[in-house]
């Protein structure tokens, strides 16, 4: 068996007035799909920031394999209804390349590929400001895929989507996971999605955590604040 893409070992972290995790240990095998579940404010986004090296742990270590390349889709974006750029131009922003305005042939091919992978080719000339919530999420995903990552972190990517669009996006992520071998960390508080689409889950609760295969997930025994997740997310 190959080494896991990510190994977190005895990690402790807290903000000055707010301890978040004590002795957190888990691994993400290559090509796995993992949900990171927990109630609002339990520290999911903070854990992602630790993984990205934006924050330093108080104790413990975070180790990636040398070839890890991260694509990160953050939780909040500010794209208003007058945002002018098309989906394609928006996605293309992540091509930093040589820095000059003109794009190379290879960059155009990569853009086309990312749009194809996210099923956005037909919608690519739509202004982002007018795109639906699902199309926007796909565009964020395409933007992160542009640099050809092998590890994808999605922070609450489905939070503001309706049921069908959620399923569609998750199906897409699953497809990327299978076809490209992407390792995926999917942050959510939607237990149903976690169970249906991911292999294992990391449940964070204040002072505890639990890492299991999703087929062992018993929704009945999960914390109450997560069970009402459906209605809560719809209200977002």
């Amino acid at each position: 068996m190959t080494a896991p893409l990510l190994t977190v070992d005895h990690l402790s972290f807290g903000f000055r007035d707010r301890p978040l995790y004590e002795d957190l240990s888990f691994t993400l095998p290559r090509g796995s799909m993992t949900s990171l579940i927990g109630a609002n404010g339990v520290g999911k986004t903070t854990l992602v920031r630790l993984l990205m090296g934006e924050l330093q742990p108080n104790a413990g270590t975070i180790t990636f394999t040398a070839d890890m390349k991260l694509g990160y889709v953050p939780q909040f974006r500010n794209i208003d209804s007058e945002f002018p750029l098309t989906i394609a131009s928006f996605v293309q922003l992540n091509q930093l390349g040589h820095g000059f305005p003109w794009h190379t042939k290879r960059e155009k091919v990569a853009l086309h590929q990312a749009l194809a992978q996210t099923h956005l080719l037909e919608r690519r000339n739509l202004a982002m400001g007018r795109a639906s919530g699902g199309e926007k999420q796909k565009a964020y995903l395409a933007q992160a895929l542009l640099t050809q990552p092998n590890f994808l972190i999605l922070d609450e990517a489905t939070a503001s989507l309706d049921v069908n669009t959620k399923e569609e996006l998750m199906g897409l992520v699953k497809e990327l996971n299978e076809t490209l071998g992407l390792t995926v960390l999917f942050v959510t508080h939607d237990l149903g999605l976690a169970k249906a689409y991911t292999d294992q889950y990391l449940l964070l609760t204040p002072g505890h955590y639990e890492m299991r295969a999703t087929d062992q997930m018993d929704i009945a025994t999960m914390p109450d604040e997560l069970k009402s997740g459906e209605e809560e997310e719809a209200a977002h």
Partner: protein, 263 residues
């Protein structure tokens, strides 16, 4: 009308100014910095008044003040939330200083009018070359840093997620904005330079769909405005600034209308 030296100078200066403010303006609007552009115009007035007081050229005074002011704003408020308040604070100090310097230097009020509303006759060939050099400098550095600037301006959250460092880009852009305001003020005056930095880019925002399209539209709207403004000003003897403002205003409303119709 090109037989007059002052018209040639004005034409050359206006062309470079419209190109620069058109391009810089697209990023100003994308970054939500229109308010700061407005304030820097007022700061430019103070800089020019200071220049009169210490007997240096108005453009140099404007550059000095706008750069100082924008860096102060940047220092006070990298965070968006604090920006408006610190901009207001900085601008009040600078406008006060402008009034002070103008009264200390005993200049006539007509000089203040020139600074505030612009004067095409006032531009010498030497001024033109300085403007062209500054404009070229701004455009060249923007060419080199284009991709990062674009990412950070249109999608700051995404840029941060991909590891693009925003603070340096902010400071660099504040410098560029300060220079653009200073050179733009030479033709339309410091009171109305923000027009060139906000209206053509807004036209571009409503009509353009890709960044290159937006840049072309913005520059075109700016160029047509200043060229037509100069010609009309020459023919009628009315202020050039008036015509430029009116033309850009019309463009803006047409673009807004087109944008609405597309819905």
């Amino acid at each position: 009308m090109f037989t007059y030296d002052f018209m040639q100078n004005a034409w050359l200066a206006a062309t470079f100014i419209a190109i620069t403010t058109g391009i810089v303006g697209v990023f100003v609007t994308a970054r939500g910095m229109s308010f700061l552009a407005h304030t820097l115009s007022e700061v430019g007035f103070a800089g020019a008044a200071f220049a009169v007081f210490v007997a240096i050229r108005p453009l140099d005074g404007m550059l000095l003040f706008t750069i100082l002011a924008s860096l102060t704003v940047g220092k006070l408020s990298v965070k968006q939330s604090r920006r408006e308040a610190s901009i207001s604070a900085v601008s009040s100090v600078f406008i006060g200083l402008g009034i002070l310097f103008l009264s200390l230097s005993n200049e006539s009020s007509s000089y203040a009018t020139t600074i505030l509303f612009g004067s095409i006759i006032g531009i010498s060939r030497q001024d033109v070359w300085q403007l062209v050099a500054l404009a070229a400098g701004v455009l060249l550095t923007m060419g080199f840093g284009y991709r990062k600037l674009a990412f950070d301006s249109f999608d700051a959250v995404g840029a941060r997620a991909q590891g693009v460092r925003g603070n340096w880009i902010s400071i660099y852009f504040l410098l560029i904005l300060a220079i653009s305001v200073s050179i733009g003020a030479q033709i339309v005056g410091s009171l109305l330079v923000f027009i060139l930095l906000t209206l053509p880019p807004s036209v571009a925002k409503y009509l353009g769909r890709t960044l290159p399209q937006m840049l072309v539209i913005s520059v075109a709207a700016g160029l047509i405005g200043v060229w037509a403004g100069l010609a009309l000003g020459y023919l009628t003897n009315w202020p050039v600034t008036f015509f430029i403002a009116a033309i850009e205003f019309v463009f803006y409303f047409i673009a807004l209308g087109v944008h609405r119709l597309r819905d």
